[in-house]
Amino acid sequence: MIVEWIRRIGAGTLESVRRMGLMGLFLAKTFLYTVIPPIKFSRVVKQIHFIGLQSTVVILLTGLFAGMVLGFQGYYSLSRFGSDAFLGPMVGLALIKELGPVLSALMVTGRAGSAVAAEIGIMRISEQIDALDLMGLNPYRYLIVPNMLAALISMPLLTAIFDVLGIFGGYLIGVKLLGVSSGVYFGEMSHYVEMADVLEGLYKSLSFGVLIAWVATFKGYYTGILTGFGAEGVSKATTQAVVLTSVLILVWDYFMTSALF
């Protein structure tokens, strides 16, 4: 009984290590084909349209409302200490360093990461990836690298849009609704927000872009082998991609914040 229990734990651990190794090799291969030409530019542009442009509306909305919430919460917290003049820096720093990159990444994971995992998963189970392979064409170049480059290009831009809309949302609530001076809101923000803060947000958004593309394409590419075949396999791969990416974004955010603090 105990031996069987230990055996199961061992087998589970070995399988987890194997899968992590597989994910590591997958990422290494993706980076390799990203730096070795040829790059399929038309596919990169197509994926920028899908991951980036088509996520803009959801980013605009979530950015605006996140900023408006920050405006309310920030004003009521700061006004208790008579520091409501610092609403601008608080909104700016919270968005640029933390909420902008993290919430944008979570939104893109839900909208585009899931779709990428499902699309590649369906291509796997319907043998379209095997067909590419048999034509002597490298599936990494056609399916994986374009998603990686598109996420790397799109994420910082989407995060910037989120930040700007969030700051505008904070302005609407803080200045237009609650009466903080416009000059104070932006003046204090420009005084306290430094280039290092903007760069921190940029580094985070880039690394989240890698995470989103890596997990979504990996889960799609190994549909069947890791998640089972058929519609259920694709469904599992998609769910796992969203859950794993979301968790990794928050965990990685902690480590990046610790390192850049």
Binding site: E127, D130, D133, M135, G136
Partner: protein
Amino acid sequence: MIKVEQLRKSFDGHVVLDGISFEIAKGEVVALIGGSGGGKSVLLKHLAGLMQPDSGRVIIDGVDLRKVRGSELRRLRDRLGFLFQGGALFDSMTVYENVAFPLREKTKMKEREIRSRVMRELELVGLKGAEDKYPSQISGGMVKRAALARSLVLDPEIMLFDEPTTGLDPVIGQSILELIDSCHQRISFTGIIVTHEIPRIFPFVDRVLMIYQGKLRVNGPPDEMMRSDDPVVKAFLGK
């Protein structure tokens, strides 16, 4: 041209191929038959280099598939065509784009030349007029025809067919087999057809390979199989 030596493959302890050996000469067309789940498609995927054997080897024109990787494997695959059971057409592309895809990616042909080549292939498989449709908008028979056109557009030396008539009615199935035969006469490929269409496939092939319990039970011309006294073969032929 194709040589298979003592090929063994098992999945989770279940032996699917148990020491299969055979040779196929250049230009020969063989039918690969056997029970469902008997390892025919697995064998075909080994021939295409999509699966690696537990032991044994597949040699194509003197090249051991186990030993080739990367660009060398891709060069070998350039000479290979594969018709998947479900067609494996790219569902985000039209029929035209699917057939044009290998030409765009593997040749330096101009778009005008590609158009004329694709339209010729589509005409040969009876799909003229369906070029702007997506795979989800056409019937199973048309998907197979489009996939056949795509797999033949680069004039492969070796064609592997994975159950080309499965899921099609007898009339469409017959027309697909006739189409494969006419394509063979046109470009003289070496062909392996995995099929359950027995004995309907016999007029179209030079030889029959039958897998039974992981081993090669039959390796000979169709008429020899028809005359066989082997009870397993007779049962398979419904005698």
